[in-house]
Symmetry: C2
Subunit: 340 residues, 2 copies
Amino acid sequence: MSEHAQRATILEVARDAGVSKTSVSRYFGGERERLSRDMQRRIAASARRLGYRPNQMARGLKGGRSRLIGMLVADIRNPFSIAVMHGVEQACREQGLSLMVCNTDNEPALEREHLALLAGYRVEGLVINVAGRPSRELEALAAQGTPLVLLDRSLGDFEADVVGLDNARAIDSALDHLQAQGYGELLYVSEPTAEASSRQARLARFREQLAARDLSGEACCLALDGNAPALERAVAAFLDAPATRPRALLCANGNVTLAVTRALQSLGVPLGETGLMGIDELDWCALVAPGITTLAQPTEDIGRTAVDSLLQRRAERERPAPPRRIHYQAELIARGSTRR
Amino acid sequence: MSEHAQRATILEVARDAGVSKTSVSRYFGGERERLSRDMQRRIAASARRLGYRPNQMARGLKGGRSRLIGMLVADIRNPFSIAVMHGVEQACREQGLSLMVCNTDNEPALEREHLALLAGYRVEGLVINVAGRPSRELEALAAQGTPLVLLDRSLGDFEADVVGLDNARAIDSALDHLQAQGYGELLYVSEPTAEASSRQARLARFREQLAARDLSGEACCLALDGNAPALERAVAAFLDAPATRPRALLCANGNVTLAVTRALQSLGVPLGETGLMGIDELDWCALVAPGITTLAQPTEDIGRTAVDSLLQRRAERERPAPPRRIHYQAELIARGSTRR
DNA sequence: GCCTGGAATGGGAACGTTACCATCGTAGGC
DNA sequence: GCCTACGATGGTAACGTTCCCATTCCAGGC
């Protein structure tokens, strides 16, 4: 291993060990036990001495197995995405797979671009968490047989496995809790639902249950990026309207919880008297004022399950099993913000 | 593009367009302008119709250019890491590079494993943010000529470019601020410094300045993972000790700020009267009680600069330029936690 | 008219692996 | 003692690119 030595190749190792490159290939390709004790020792010694690492590019080319999993994240700064990604990463590592993470910043153009790149690397599976309709690229990948799993949101009528939260029951348990705590006038705050099925599911369930239960309230969808004033106005309007029962706000996800908490603080509204509750558990929910009640998603599990699902698809390859939908239950973490 | 069609190859496109594969290669390899108008049209049409994407594996193999950048992150759940990663990712995209992110969860074994994998993919550059001494793997990578850049922490006497915070001046401005606000008795809280140069630099500067200024105080280093009680005891001891001037806590990074805030809350200590300040700006610092004063790092810039540095190294290839060290200034965000 | 040169294109040999198909012993069944 | 079969090993042809070196064509200088 001199100064600017190129990486050693399988051929050099083979020569150095006095064996054929096939044997070296077998050694590193997981067929070690097929080799004699002696040969194993010699290969190990040579490889170690030369600092040999199998070239994954060559491997991927020849065998068609890139050992790569791609992940498309709509917003990498969302803690939920990070937590899921952590699960995905662990599962991949356990399987000897590497992960390529691409952040689309919610831009469809970036999404297509990244998808094209991942396709170029011939990823063996794709974990996807993006907005919008399925792009040409995605359809090509699917048609080509790349295992896909959608995180949190399904994609139009696109047929693929989905792993996420049981949104209906999550909303139900939120409402159960709020009702039990005596809140009767609700405002549900969400980001725009147009492009994300999970947001739609939550919103729909909220509306549905509002009618079914002894509750009144409304929902409000708005984009959060930078227009805090709009949100503040909406919250203020809700708080100023006449009401016969205690009021509470329900936030559709962590981003909303952050924005709403800011708005409430800016309006000087004390939490608890006015209820506040959010989907997604965040680091700081325990720290703000009386603590913010949340519904925690089992993020790591979701990530791991996504990878499992991918591998299963790959295993049953040509079999056209119907799309699986795996829904996890949220866990209620009650804190002061829903205690009057 | 039939149901389970394999991806088209360059040869198929060439045949379909009635040209040679060299021409197709040129078209996709960024030598488009060398081709006649007519040929460009024909290739574009065929490629589009067949859904052709250059196989990056083959590219990487032949040309030795993987178009891949690797990033090693010690703790992916640290918001600082995420923010930097976002910058890295943007810079990579602008350069047409893809990013492979590996999380080491602060485990040296995982670090080696991931490094080996990245080496296998022949990454063209490596952004590294990990603890500990340089591993064999890392040294091999470096010796082989892979451009490296260290994030936030330097690695023993390992020679490589470093991008991070100007730790000395960051501590100075923290102390300036605390002093100006009238605090005179300080507790500096850090995670163990053994394996991270930036932690060492901050701690050393703190101790040094304590002596140089009219301040008294001490420093306390402890592991945060799960032993909240220990931290709580340390904080309580500081608060109980007799003092002639107002007390303040200075947190070495975002993790510490989170843990200390929890400890203070659990002890029922009001912020402001007891000062609190942290390095790293976090989503929720404005939300907790009177707001927590922070020193914000220019995370995106740090990430982008890291990639720039990598590219520059690659450009000046065989030239043995001395290691560069780029240090950014932190920005003070004053809030209620340091107002008496 | 011939030679030079550059622009447009094509052919073939790598790149480092793996998969398939030999080849070689040698132990065991008859 | 011979044939079979299996276990251990090796040789070689792909995989899909890029890069180097032709080749062709035509414009322009002498």
